[in-house]
């Protein structure tokens, strides 16, 4: 077990406030508490909690953070423990990347949306796939019925990735490929790398990220066919290992705190579980002979910024410190970049109701602001039509504009970590650090994250959390404006246009027919046989997938091979 809670340095000069000063403040506090407050105020103590359950006091003073040592516990941006930010100059040097999601219809439609966002000042690309693609089926597989192009873009073969990135220079783009599952992260990024190669763009200049997280396969989402946790975890590690050795500017994993949070956990569970996953990966890659500094600089994280403004900011700050402590103390990482926790943020979709959808503009703007105050590296702000469908062009533009307003108009990017020194924020950050460590240690104690998933522990955690959360909504304890609080007498309905792409299926089907005619079936078989073989050997699967996609093997065929070779896992139904 790790013991990373630092030994508190009690010598007064090192602490934020002198011992004497703190003593005085404590006495004054007691006086204020006893004499300035009403009974009702005093009785309210112990009744306020942050979203993750940290008790909130009526007022915070230096006495609440008197154990903190500025240099060791807080420090400077770009310096250990990186609590205040990963780069010394933060947003003065480089704004967070404005990275809005785009995913709808056929690759050709999606290309239009991506170009639209880039034309309006987006600085990164993030692409989403439809459910058949995400779960590894071709558009013409029976399982795909009714879902083709519905909540993301359809990808069946390398041709689709080529169409997706028509007129986009893969040598300068920064692309986030939202594959979610390791099994598709073996294939879709391989298509991307192969397209780059075909276009003469060297792999050294290809930059981006893929989501590659086995808990997406096995826990966060449910599906008719699910690969076993061990197999999915192995694939996750294969992608990271291969990418670290071959594509120097690609982040092969984005530990998906976001999706777990949306599935149902609090801020502590979100960060703790994602870091436990990174630890499991690190242990496995070290077992395979890699060094921590070979891969740690390429691990990236993905946080969900929920409603509790200060707790979310504290979470972001704390996550950087925990990562630093982990890398330094447990893994003895040497490269400075290994010590930096970099993360993308998406605002919390689950906080956005269908009722009075325009209110979501306000919710998302606050969450986005918290992300920036928390020092994120890139950001997606959800759109007001979140509870209806993929955003319309108008809604997507408004989200993009919200980001630009944060950058250009609010002034919050002018100085580093502006909330540092707030007694409350520092207190919460310190609490978060401790609670995240407790969570990590709990998972370690169960034998690590893969085991915790196999045992259904994580599924149970999610369910319990969700029941509790929903009961609070039903009882009105958790207020949602317009839904269970300040409910309008008359329901105002704003007509929301919903994007639909019914023609995607036939377009994809036609392309697949053409592809099957043009490719060599002998070559296809050879590729699939080699892949099958590799599944049962300790051999990295990426080169086999790369070879296969170049030979026009489809995503569905590769994934079917995985399902056959690794077998299916029964999702624990609760």
């Amino acid at each position: 077990m790790l013991e990373t809670r630092q030994v508190r340095n009690q010598s007064p000069p090192e602490c934020l406030f002198s011992e004497e000063h703190v003593k005085q403040i404590k006495a004054n506090y007691q006086d204020w508490f006893d004499n300035s407050l009403r009974d009702a105020d005093r009785e309210s103590e112990g009744k306020y909690f942050t979203h993750s359950g940290i008790p909130i006091k009526l007022i915070y003073t230096p006495a609440d953070i008197d154990h903190l040592n500025y240099t060791e516990d807080i420090g400077f941006s770009g310096h250990p423990p990186y609590l205040r930010g990963v780069y010394p100059n933060m947003y003065r040097g480089r704004f967070f990347t404005v990275r809005q999601l785009a995913g709808l219809g056929a690759p050709e439609d999606c290309n239009e949306r991506v170009c639209y966002l880039l034309d309006h000042g987006a600085t990164g690309i993030s692409i989403l796939f439809d459910l058949p693609t995400v779960r590894g089926y071709n558009s013409d597989d029976p399982e795909a019925e009714g879902n083709v192009g519905a909540c993301g873009a359809a990808v069946d073969s390398i041709w689709d990735i080529d169409a997706f990135f028509k007129d986009i220079d893969l040598g300068t783009a920064s692309t986030n490929i939202v594959t979610h599952l390791p099994s598709t992260s073996l294939v879709i990024p391989a298509m991307y790398f192969a397209v780059a190669e075909q276009r003469g763009t060297p792999w050294t200049s290809v930059a981006g990220t893929c989501q590659n997280d086995f808990i997406m396969e096995t826990c966060v989402g449910s599906a008719p066919e699910i690969l076993p946790p061990q197999a999915s975890f192995r694939m996750q590690c294969d992608v990271i290992e291969w990418v670290c050795k071959n594509i120097p500017r690609w982040n092969p994993v984005s530990y998906n705190g976001y999706n777990l949070r949306e599935a149902g956990t609090d801020a502590v569970g979100e960060v703790g579980t994602a870091i436990a996953n990174a630890m499991a990966t690190a242990d496995e890659l070290i077992r395979r002979g890699m060094k921590i500094d070979d891969f740690a600089p390429r691990m990236s994280f993905f946080w969900d910024l929920h409603n509790d403004f200060f707790e979310e900011i504290a979470k972001c700050r704390a996550s950087r410190k925990v990562w630093y402590q982990l890398m330094k103390e447990r893994y003895n990482a040497q490269k400075p970049k290994s010590l930096l926790m970099r993360f993308h943020v998406q605002t919390a979709g689950v906080t956005l109701p269908a009722t009075e959808p325009l209110n979501n503009v306000a919710r998302s703007a606050f969450q986005g602001m918290a992300a920036v105050l928390g020092g994120c590296q890139s950001l997606h702000i959800d759109s007001y039509d979140e509870a209806y469908s993929a955003p319309t062009e108008e809604a997507a533009l408004l989200s993009l504009r919200t980001q630009q307003i944060l950058q250009a108009e609010t002034g919050i990017c002018s100085t580093v970590d502006p909330l540092a020194g707030s007694y409350y924020v520092e207190y919460l950050t310190d609490q978060m650090v401790q609670r995240i460590w407790d969570h990590i240690n709990k998972i370690e104690g169960m034998g690590g994250l893969v085991k915790a998933v196999e045992d259904g522990w994580l599924h149970r955690e999610i369910s319990t959390y969700n029941m509790d959360y929903q009961k609070k909504i039903e009882s009105g304890e958790m207020k949602i404006v317009g839904v269970n609080f300040q409910v309008a007498a008359e329901k105002e309905t704003k007509a929301i246009e919903v994007y639909e792409y019914p023609e995607t299926y036939s377009r994809q089907k036609t392309k697949l027919e053409k592809l099957r005619k043009e490719r060599s079936s002998t070559k296809v078989q050879e590729c699939l046989d080699a892949l099958k073989d590799a599944c049962h050997r300790e051999e990295n699967l990426v080169p086999h997938c790369l070879e296969a996609v170049k030979n026009l093997v489809t995503l569905g065929e590769i994934e079917e091979t995985f399902r056959e070779e690794f077998g299916l896992w029964a999702f624990p139904l609760l």
Binding site: Y137, E143, E145, S222, P224, G264, A354, S389, I462, L573
Partner: protein
């Protein structure tokens, strides 16, 4: 003793979103119904299970965009097998016009969109089954 209302619940097809369906299942259970949650299934499998379980109600959750294709298919399959007495409820994310169309043209008893209080769903299922 009064027979408990038997509900077979499923996620439609490839839809990965299980938060809502789990909660609805749990609340229905807590309200005294017998709930059998199937996980992700396709229409044929859902109808098969409803027969096996002697269900009064099928509950379908769709946040993945296949509500207009797979939802009506369940109703069609039930009709073909003469199982019209099984009421089909749906819930999830979809355009309000799609929800109306499912109710008015495709034989779905009721569609519950996001933000619906659980008690409304419980009462809706109870009253529909009582009338049948």
């Amino acid at each position: 003793m009064e027979r408990k209302i038997r509900v077979v619940m499923a996620k439609l097809g490839l839809d990965i979103h299980w938060r809502g369906v789990y909660l609805v299942s749990q609340f229905l259970k807590d309200s005294g119904m017998e709930v059998i949650y199937l996980g992700n299934k396709f229409p044929e499998q859902i109808v098969e299970a409803a027969v096996e379980e002697d269900a009064d109600v099928i509950g379908l959750s769709s946040l993945g965009g296949s509500h207009l294709t797979l939802g009506p298919k369940v109703v069609r399959l039930l009709k073909e097998r003469g199982l019209d007495h099984i009421k089909v409820f749906m819930g999830g994310v979809m355009a309000p016009k799609d929800a109306r169309s499912l109710e008015e043209e495709h034989g779905i008893a009721k569609v519950y969109l996001p933000d619906t209080p659980m008690q409304v769903i419980i009462d809706g299922i109870r009253s529909t089954v009582a009338l049948a």
